[in-house]
């Protein structure tokens, strides 16, 4: 796999991500995962 400049991911902070999405008028991409 080619490694590149990946996105800056906000961890476990939905309110912050929503605020950023609204401020920048960008859609929010969510990766919902579980540790198993």
């Amino acid at each position: 796999m080619a490694a590149g400049t990946g996105p800056r991911v906000i961890e476990d902070d939905w309110p912050r991500a929503v605020a950023e999405a609204q401020a920048k008028d960008l859609p929010l991409f969510v990766d919902a995962w579980a540790p198993w």
Partner: protein
């Protein structure tokens, strides 16, 4: 996904086009998110509109970097349709929104219409087929899932999308032991799945899932020797993956498949060395000791199983901890240690009651309460 797919160079061009959020669904901090966007498949990817948070796209299960790139492109087009956009793309976007919003029947009808409009050479056909088959599975329309997967897979190029569609179809057929259509569906899908398991460029997780579905299909057709041979191939694949240079997390991510393959081979002990290595490499992770506890219980090595379950319980958190409590209780029950069993069940019920509602698995909590009641009644 976070470690293996998101850093892929093919996604770099999307980095500034979205705000990226990772949600650990076991973390109590994320209860509010889960109350609004319930998740029952892992991973689940969502794209949410910036202003009102409405879901534009929902994708269940893993995706390669190329597939994820295509999904992100679809979501962007859906949010900002271009004038003159093809009708099929517009229909796909509408189906995606309905599907993401839980209106599965509307989504299914929309995907079918988009496929009809797009035709066999449509660039988004493979993606639309995957979405349709996923939506059919989510709606419980398992026969349609299996037959659609088979019909559409025959027309797809032999790549990751072909493998995903075939894997989903075979899983739908495996899920219904008594259905009259099952034998026909298995016979049609199994050769395609054998082809799919050899396709290059698949995520190891997806390839392992295909092997598991193939083992189940062989067993369902009464071919125990064929199931065993397939499980051996599955195990060999997992061993090759274990030998590759990778992070401890990436190696451990295939541990559940190692347990599954070892159990399918009737030789659970095979999985122990990998699980022990994962426990050494990832000392804060509850999964390796939980998996060891399960395997050791299957082997009848109950004191070791119990010790491993206790190690797992000390590290586990969130809704999944209830499953670890169930595992610990099952070992104590096999040991005939009723006081310990009663205490574990009581602790588990208390833990379940303390979980935020969106993260409480009521089915597991009810099973724990029923078990506790039965023990007290004895």
């Amino acid at each position: 996904m976070r470690a293996s797919v998101l850093p892929d160079a093919r996604l770099a061009r999307h980095a500034g086009r979205f705000v990226w959020l990772s949600i650990d669904t076991e973390n109590a901090r994320n209860a509010g998110f889960l109350a609004r966007y319930p998740v029952d498949t892992w991973p689940t990817f969502l794209v949410l509109a910036p202003r009102d948070g409405k879901p534009v796209l929902r994708w269940l299960g893993s995706a390669t970097a190329a597939q994820l790139g295509e999904l992100l492109e679809s979501a962007r087009r859906s949010l900002a349709p271009r004038p003159g956009e093809r009708r099929a793309e517009a229909l796909l976007a509408r189906a995606d929104r309905a599907n993401a919003d839980g209106r599965l029947q509307e989504g299914i009808a929309g995907y079918r219409e988009a496929l009809k409009r797009g035709g066999v050479r449509w660039a988004a056909r493979a993606r639309a087929v995957m979405s349709l088959v996923l939506a059919l599975a989510a709606a419980g329309e398992l026969e349609a899932c299996a037959t659609t997967a088979r019909r559409e897979a025959l027309q797809l190029g032999r790549g990751a999308s072909f493998a995903s569609v075939v894997g989903m179809g075979l899983s739908c057929a495996n899920a219904v032991p008594d259905a009259p259509w099952r034998a026909r569906a298995l016979a049609a899908l199994e050769p395609l799945a054998r082809e799919a398991v050899g396709v290059s460029g698949l995520l190891a997780d997806d390839r392992a899932g295909l092997y598991e579905a193939l083992v189940e299909a062989r067993a369902a057709r009464g071919d125990d020797e064929g199931a065993r041979r397939t499980a051996e191939s599955w195990w060999s694949f997992l061993e090759r993956e274990r030998g590759r240079p990778a992070s401890a997390e990436a190696r451990a991510s295939l541990d559940s498949w190692r347990v599954g393959a070892a159990i399918a081979l009737g030789d659970p002990a095979r999985a122990l060395p990998a699980l022990e290595a994962s426990q050494r490499d990832l000392p804060r992770d509850y999964n390796p000791p939980a998996r060891r506890a399960y395997v050791l219980r299957e082997l009848g090595r109950l004191p070791e199983a119990r010790a491993a379950a206790e190690q797992a319980l000390a590290k586990a958190y969130g809704p999944r901890k209830l499953k670890v409590y169930q595992l610990a209780a099952s070992i104590q029950e096999k040991q005939g240690d009723r006081p310990a069993l009663a205490a574990t069940l009581e602790e588990a019920i208390e833990y379940a009651n303390g979980l935020p509602a969106p993260q409480r698995d009521e089915k597991v909590a009810s099973a724990l309460r029923a078990k506790s009641g039965a023990i007290q009644g004895q």
